[in-house]
Symmetry: C2
């Protein structure tokens, strides 16, 4: 066993924190150790939690952490900042440090931000999840501000995806919701103490059953939670745990693996193309509109394999 | 000149609408014609407009369209739905049909949704923008609900990127804002009739000047608009037009071309890998945790070029 994995297995926080920084920075020297890192996993349940801004998702995550701590679990949390290439996660990172569980030694929280040579943000996140798994945290929560396709993609990498909603929202947010709902294994209609929460849950159940024709999957479980009071939080934790077996069916595991490989491939192709001898000239031809980007990509794929 | 380009050049709406449907569906038969389509561009100014949900972006886009129509321009608009793989753009599409310019023959509006074999949503959007350009629309506006990295990426493909903000917003939305601000060429602080709009604009100017150390670029122009009354809209249109020359510098054009090629490469690599004889077995090994996704990607890149 390498030093890296032995340090993680020790359960100490500092080696894990250092490793996560290297992962976040895309440290290329980690590359040969990834195989071992993935192999050192202890089978943690990787749970994605996403939802639009304003859904009370962070409060709900905080309440879920408390529930899992009461159940004796060591909880890992990765908060993925969608604006990451620019802010380097500073804002969600600050929020994390203010959370009530920040002083708990059995809760490890980290905001994920930058892109590096190891791949895009999705890849960075799943490597980080593997590190938390190897360090003995279970469940590992991946929290994203759900809105764009990146967040949908990150949510799909999790074994169980929880989408947090609120009863009432504007039109644009409705569009975002619809996209997220179809990756949800569990939907938490949060702010359940507001008028209309139960009706919203019923509407969602009806919506998910009629949407079945478009997307072939098990309809998500719809629950009502009130993160601020804790109502429904234990039931949500139960539902997440109950989904674990389903998430580990051979078909589901294969689907996730295919997504991971696709993502890694896309990043690898982009990295190698930049090193292609014809890169500069090809890009210039596209800039001069002498070549379209697709033909350019085909040219750069030659000899890249 | 092919039939495709001749039909677009005719200025009729129906061939353009049919072509956009084929682009959106990822029709592989279009692939050999893309070179010609990109070459048929008339040099339209491609303008990205993004901002968080609730910023009044759609109303502002509507007002900008009115302003450009008064200036005698034919305006193309692509509304990109971030939840696209699932809702197929139905929700933003409905909104578009309700817009006041829907009956104007010199305004062409379209919501972009699905992914297809031609590439991801970003690629689909820029091919669609090339089609609107070839059909004589200028400017071509690309509107996204700005939140995730996909939206940031789409915004970066535009020649000029306008980010719409509002004076007051919650913490999570602040995080989103910060990410968007750093891709902005122009920031419109909308809902300018609310208290604090001018102060918000001053704060943004201060923020952008101190952020200079992290990102090397020209600080964005900060403006105050009130889309509902039209205040500041003509000035915003002026600012967009004034940015056109700057956006077409050789350095800027090269940067955009490099992004387009990278995106096309990622999509091409993923498509080809799925056809690789070792695809099924490699994915299974990743699912069984015998192989990490990065080593898997390297294996699949062999012989793919």
């Amino acid at each position: 066993m390498s030093e890296l994995v032995a340090e993680l297995a020790s359960g100490e926080r500092r080696p894990l924190a250092r490793l996560l920084t290297r992962i976040e920075n895309g440290d290329a020297a980690l590359r040969p150790q990834l195989q071992e890192l993935f192999g050192a996993g202890r089978g943690a349940h990787v749970v994605g939690i996403t939802g639009p801004p304003g859904s009370g998702k962070s409060t709900l995550v905080n309440a879920l952490i408390g529930e899992w701590r009461r159940r004796g679990r060591r909880v890992g949390i990765l908060a993925v900042d969608p604006s990451s290439p620019y802010t380097r996660g500073a804002i969600l990172g600050d929020r994390i440090r203010m959370m009530e569980h920040a002083a708990d030694r059995d809760v490890f929280m980290r905001s994920m931000a930058s892109r590096g040579e190891l791949g895009g943000l999705a890849a960075t996140t799943w490597i980080a999840a593997a590190a938390l798994d190897a360090a003995g945290y279970d469940p590992v929560l991946i929290e994203t501000v759900g809105a764009g396709q990146s967040e949908v993609e990150i949510a799909r990498l999790a074994e169980t995806t929880v989408v947090v909603e609120v009863p009432e929202m504007g039109d644009e947010v409705q569009a975002i919701k619809a996209g997220l709902l179809e990756v949800a294994d569990i939907v938490a209609v949060n702010k359940g103490d507001r008028p209309g929460a139960d009706r919203a849950a019923r509407q969602l159940r009806a919506m998910m059953s009629t949407a079945g024709g478009r997307v072939e999957r098990t309809p998500p479980k719809i629950m009502v939670t009130t993160a601020t009071s804790g109502d429904g939080v234990a039931e949500l934790a139960d539902a997440v745990e109950a989904h674990r077996e389903q998430a580990r069916s051979p078909v589901a595991a294969r689907g996730r693996a295919a997504n991971q490989v696709r993502r890694a491939l896309a990043d690898l192709a982009a990295t190698r193309a930049r090193e292609h001898p014809a890169w500069d000239q090809t890009v210039q031809e596209v800039a001069d509109r002498e070549l379209d980007p697709f033909t350019a990509a085909e040219r750069l794929m030659e000899g890249v394999g």
